[in-house]
C-alpha cells in the first residue's frame, strides 16, 4: 500500500512546527569545483520514518536517500520511466510465470563484497516474512508462497517461488502469470542486501550498505544525512557530484527559504505559499525550476456498501460532474495539478486518456439531472480528509462546488492524521466520501488497478468486488505481450468507470527548484529530483 497522505507541501502550521523550527547545522557546500563532475551538493531532505532499510521504506524521506544508495535489478529511465537493466544481465520468461534472472558479474556492494543471487533471494525473503513487519512486504504478493510467509505469525521463512540456481542466477515463480513482473523489480523494496545486513538489521539501518552509485557516510539525527560517491560503483548509472548532503527540514517553507538563501542546492517541492501567482518563477529565475507531470493521482473514494445513500451509480456520477476540477486546480493548486480524465496517471505505461469521459467534466445541468434520476440525496454528505496533509483547502473547495452545483450539503471533515482515516476505513466506519491519493510503485497501469480495486487488495477501501474485473486482470496478467496486457488493463479500467466507486480528481505535477550552483537537474517520473545526475557548475 503506497497511498499518499500528503497532497503537496504542507502549509498548515501545527503546534509542533511552531515550537520546533528546522534544525540548522553548518553546511560545507563551498567546495564547488567548476567542473562538470565532482563537487558537493546539498539537497533538501526530511526525517526518514524508519531506519534506512530498503524493504522497510515506503515514504519519500528515506526513499530519496535510498534511491542514490541502492542499485536494483532494473533502473527506470529518468526521462521516460522505461525500465533498463541495472544489476540484471537479463530477465527471461516463457510463460509470464517463471522468470529466470541473470545478474551481472562483479557488481560490488559498498563493503567490497560481490552482489550474488543469494543477496536478492535472502533480502526478498526477509522483507516478505510477516514477523519482520517490513513495509515493503506487499511487493512480493505475486511470488509463490507469499501467503504462507507474509502472515504476521508465520513460521515459513522462505518464499517457495524464489530459487537460487547459481551465484549469478535465480528464478522467480509467481502464483499466477504476471506479465509486467520485470517492470516492478526496480522499486527500492527489490534491492539486494549484503550479508552483513542479516547479522543485525537494526544497526544496519543506521549505517546502510548497498550497491548504488553513492555510499553512506553519516547520519546526524534531525540534521543531515551525508552520502558520497562510491568509487568502485559497477553500474551504468553513476553519479556526477562527489558528495550529496540531505539537509533535514521540518517544513517545506523553511526548505524553500534555505534554497533562496543559497544554503541548499535542490528542493524536492515548492511550498504552496510560493506557488501562488507563480512566485517561485520570479524568486528563482529562468532555468532554475522545472515542472513535470508525476504519478500522483488524487481521487475521492466511497464505499456504498457502508453508505447506502450512495448506492445508485447516477448519484455518484452526479457528484463527480458537480466538481469544477479546472477552477479548483487553478485557484487552489495554482496549476500544480492537472484535472484527471481517468483512473490511471498519464506517466505510466498503458495509460489511455479519457476513461472517465463526460463524467469527469464539470456540468451542473447534467449533474442535477443525474441526481434526480438517481433518486436524489438527503442530508449531509461528509468528505473526510486527514488534517495533517494540507488537504483543507481543496476538500473545502470540492464541497463548495458540489453544494453549489447540485445542492447536496457537503461538509469537508478533518480527521487527525492519515492513519486514523485508514484505520476507520478498515473497519468500514467511514460514511460519505473520503479523499485518497496514489503514487505509483512501478510505472505500469496495473499498479493503479490491482492494489486498489482487487477484491482482496490491501488498498481496496471501497468494497469493490467485481468478478468481471478480476477476470480481466488475470487475463491481462497472462497476456503474451505488454501491449496486449495493457489493452486488457484498459478494459479493466473501463469496468471501474462503469461502477464509479471512486471519483477521479487530478494528476500531480512535480515542481522542483535549484540553486545557481548546480545544473542538469531532472525529475524522475516518481516526482523526485534525479540527484545522481545533478552536476555542480
Amino acid at each position: 500500500m503506497r497511498v499518499k497522505s500528503r497532497a503537496m507541501a504542507i502549509a498548515s502550521i501545527s503546534a509542533v512546527a511552531l515550537l520546533a523550527t528546522a534544525c540548522g547545522g553548518s553546511s560545507d557546500t563551498d567546495s564547488t569545483s567548476g567542473g562538470t563532475a565532482g563537487g558537493a551538493i546539498v539537497s533538501g531532505g526530511c526525517n526518514p520514518e524508519n531506519p534506512l532499510v530498503a524493504g522497510n521504506t515506503a515514504e519519500t524521506c528515506g526513499g530519496d536517500v535510498l534511491d542514490v544508495l541502492t542499485a536494483k535489478l532494473i533502473h527506470y529511465n529518468p526521462e521516460t520511466a522505461q525500465p533498463e537493466n541495472d544489476i540484471a544481465e537479463s530477465i527471461e520468461t516463457k510463460d509470464n510465470q517463471t522468470f529466470t534472472v541473470k545478474i551481472k558479474k562483479g557488481y560490488k556492494f559498498h563493503d567490497g563484497t560481490e552482489v550474488l543471487a543469494k543477496n536478492f533471494v535472502d533480502a526478498w525473503n526477509y522483507t516478505a516474512f510477516g514477523p519482520n513487519g517490513q513495509q515493503g512486504g506487499y511487493f512480493f504478493e505475486p511470488v509463490e508462497g507469499f501467503k504462507e510467509v507474509s502472515d504476521p505469525k508465520s513460521k515459513v521463512k522462505k518464499l517457495s517461488g524464489l530459487k537460487v540456481v547459481d551465484d549469478h542466477t535465480f528464478t522467480i515463480k509467481t502464483t499466477t502469470p504476471v506479465s509486467n513482473l520485470p517492470l516492478r523489480l526496480g522499486y527500492t523494496a527489490f534491492a539486494p542486501q549484503p550479508d552483513s545486513f542479516f547479522d543485525d538489521p537494526e544497526a544496519f539501518g543506521k549505517k546502510p550498505v548497498a550497491a548504488g552509485p553513492y555510499k553512506f557516510d553519516s547520519w546526524e539525527e534531525n540534521s543531515a544525512i551525508v552520502v558520497s560517491k562510491f568509487d568502485d560503483y559497477s553500474g551504468d548509472f553513476g553519479g556526477n557530484s562527489d558528495k550529496i548532503t540531505f539537509k533535514i527540514f521540518q517544513d517545506a517553507d523553511a526548505e524553500y527559504t534555505a534554497l533562496l538563501a543559497g544554503e541548499i542546492d535542490v528542493v524536492r517541492q515548492i511550498p504552496p505559499s510560493a506557488l501562488i501567482d507563480n512566485k517561485f518563477k520570479t524568486d528563482l529565475g529562468d532555468g532554475r525550476y522545472l515542472e513535470k507531470e508525476n504519478s500522483t493521482f488524487q481521487f475521492v473514494g466511497m464505499n456504498y456498501h457502508v453508505d447506502p445513500k450512495l448506492k445508485n451509480v447516477k448519484v455518484r456520477q452526479a457528484i463527480s460532474m458537480a466538481i469544477d476540477r479546472p477552477t479548483i486546480v487553478k485557484q487552489i493548486f495554482n496549476d500544480a495539478y492537472t484535472p484527471a480524465t481517468g483512473w490511471v496517471s498519464p506517466v505510466v505505461d498503458g495509460y489511455k486518456a479519457g476513461a472517465c469521459g463526460e463524467y469527469c467534466e464539470f456540468n451542473p445541468e447534467k449533474a442535477k439531472k443525474l441526481l434526480k434520476e438517481g433518486g436524489g440525496y438527503d442530508g449531509k454528505l461528509t468528505l473526510s480528509y486527514n488534517g495533517d496533509g494540507g488537504h483543507k483547502e481543496w476538500t473545502q473547495a470540492v464541497c463548495n462546488s458540489v453544494k453549489k452545483s447540485i445542492g447536496i450539503d457537503c461538509v469537508a471533515t478533518p480527521s487527525v492524521d492519515f492513519k486514523t482515516i485508514l484505520t476507520k476505513l478498515g473497519k468500514d466506519e467511514v460514511k460519505g466520501l473520503f479523499r485518497m491519493g496514489w503514487v505509483m510503485d512501478y510505472p505500469s497501469i496495473e499498479n493503479y488497478l490491482s492494489p486498489i480495486y482487487g477484491a482482496t487488495a490491501s488498498s481496496n477501501y471501497y468494497g469493490y468486488d467485481n468478478a468481471a474485473f478480476q477476470k480481466k486482470m488475470s487475463e491481462a496478467g497472462a497476456a503474451d505481450t505488454p501491449e496486449a496486457a495493457n489493452k486488457l488493463y484498459q478494459e479493466a479500467e473501463g469496468l471501474i468507470a462503469k461502477e464509479f466507486t471512486t471519483i477521479p480528481l487530478w494528476y500531480g505535477k512535480t515542481i522542483i527548484g535549484w540553486s545557481d550552483k548546480v545544473t542538469d537537474v531532472k525529475a524522475t517520473p516518481f516526482g523526485n529530483p534525479d540527484l545522481a545526475a545533478i552536476k555542480v557548475k
Binding site: 502549509a11 504552496p272 473545502q396 463548495n400
Partner: protein, 330 residues
C-alpha cells in the same frame, strides 16, 4: 504571602502586578469618609468614567462587536456560505469590501461572523475566571488558616503552568474525543466550551490571589468588626460588607484579561487546535491567510485588524475602569 490572614500592610508580599491594586478599595473607603459626601464608590467611579474619552471610544467599539456577535447579518448582505471560487483572492473592491479569500468567500462577511466566536470565548472565559477566582479568593481570604494555605498552594501550582502551553496540550489531546463528562465537546459550542474550560481552569489563580488580598484588607475594617459584633452571620458579612468592597480590583483585572483571552483564543485557533473550520473565527481566518500571505496579504490583514481592535477595545475599557476605581490615579 501565606497565612497573612491579619496582614494589613499597604503592599501584601504576594507577587503579581494585579495585587498592587489591592490597596484601592481601602483607600477609596477612606477617601469617601474624608469627603463626607454620600456618593458610593461605584457612583463615584461612574462619574469619573463618564468624563473619560477612552471609555466612550472603547465602549462604542465593544457595542459594535457585541452587535456583530449577536446579529451578524445586520452588517453584511452576503451569506456566510457564499463563495465563488473563480473570484478567489481578489483585492478589496466595491462588491467585496475586504476582498475575497482563497475559496472566493467574502472576507468582510467572514470577519463579521468571526466576531461571535471570539467575543463568546472572551466573555465566557472572563466570567468563568471571575466567578471561580473570586469565590476561591474570598474563601481563602475570609476563612484563612489551612484552607487559605491549601487554596493558595493550589493556585501557585496552576499559576506556574503557562496558559498557552497547557492550552496546546489540553486541546490537542481532546481533538478527537467526542464527549467530556457526558458533554459533547465537538461542534461549534463544544469547541468553544473546550477553549473556555482551559482558560478558566488555568486562569483563576491570578484573580484568586487578587481577591484574597483584597478580602484580607477589608476584613479587619471597623464596619466588618461591627457587623460581626452585632451578630451578623458570615454569609451576610461577606455579601453585604466584604464582597462589595473587595470586588472592584477583580472586576478591573478581569476586564483587561478579556482582551487577553480573545488574543489567546486566536492564537490557539491559528495553531489549528482551538476553534476549527467550518467555525469561523479570527484565528482560523488568520491561519487560512498564512499560505497566500506573500501574494495576497489582505486575506490575513483584515481579520488580524479586527482582532487587534477588539483586544484593544477591551483593554482600553479595562484601563478606563481601573482609572475610575483607583482614586490615586486621579
Amino acid at each position: 504571602m501565606t497565612d497573612k490572614t491579619t496582614a494589613q500592610g499597604a503592599t501584601p508580599g504576594g507577587p503579581g502586578n494585579d495585587e498592587a491594586d489591592a490597596t484601592t478599595t481601602r483607600a477609596a473607603v477612606v477617601a469617601e469618609a474624608a469627603d463626607g459626601t454620600s456618593r458610593s464608590l461605584t457612583a463615584d467611579a461612574f462619574r469619573s468614567l463618564r468624563r473619560n474619552p477612552f471609555f466612550w471610544i472603547s465602549s462604542a467599539l465593544i457595542v459594535i462587536f457585541m452587535l456583530m456577535a449577536v446579529w451578524p447579518s445586520l452588517f453584511t448582505t452576503y451569506d456566510l456560505g457564499f463563495n465563488d471560487l473563480s473570484r478567489s483572492r481578489e483585492t478589496p473592491s466595491g462588491a467585496h469590501w475586504f476582498g475575497t479569500d482563497t475559496q472566493g468567500a467574502d472576507i468582510y462577511t467572514r470577519t463579521v461572523y468571526g466576531a461571535r466566536a471570539s467575543i463568546l470565548v472572551g466573555v465566557l472565559a472572563t466570567t468563568g475566571v471571575l466567578l471561580l477566582g473570586s469565590l476561591l479568593g474570598l474563601i481563602a481570604g475570609y476563612v484563612g488558616g489551612w484552607v487559605d494555605t491549601l487554596i493558595s498552594r493550589l493556585g501557585d501550582i496552576f499559576f506556574a503552568i503557562p496558559l498557552l502551553l497547557v492550552g496546546i496540550i489540553f486541546l490537542s489531546s481532546l481533538q478527537d474525543t467526542p464527549t467530556l463528562l457526558g458533554i459533547p465537546i465537538q461542534g461549534y459550542f463544544g469547541v468553544i466550551f473546550q477553549v473556555v474550560l482551559v482558560f478558566v481552569l488555568f486562569g483563576w489563580p491570578s484573580l484568586m490571589r487578587l481577591m484574597r488580598s483584597s478580602v484580607i484588607q477589608v476584613k479587619p475594617n471597623d464596619y466588618v468588626q461591627a457587623a460581626r459584633a452585632l451578630g451578623a452571620t458570615p454569609m451576610r458579612i461577606i455579601r453585604r460588607h466584604v464582597l462589595p468592597n473587595a470586588m472592584a480590583p477583580a472586576i478591573v483585572v478581569a476586564t483587561i484579561n478579556l482582551g487577553a483571552y480573545i488574543a489567546a483564543e486566536a492564537t490557539l485557533s491559528f495553531l489549528g487546535i482551538g476553534l476549527r473550520p467550518p467555525t469561523v473565527s479570527w484565528g482560523v481566518m488568520i491561519n487560512d491567510g498564512l499560505t497566500p500571505l506573500r501574494a495576497s496579504p489582505h486575506i490575513l490583514f483584515f481579520p488580524a485588524l479586527f482582532l487587534s481592535i477588539a483586544v484593544l477595545a477591551f483593554i482600553m475599557l479595562g484601563d478606563a475602569v481601573r482609572d475610575a476605581f483607583d482614586p490615586k490615579s486621579r
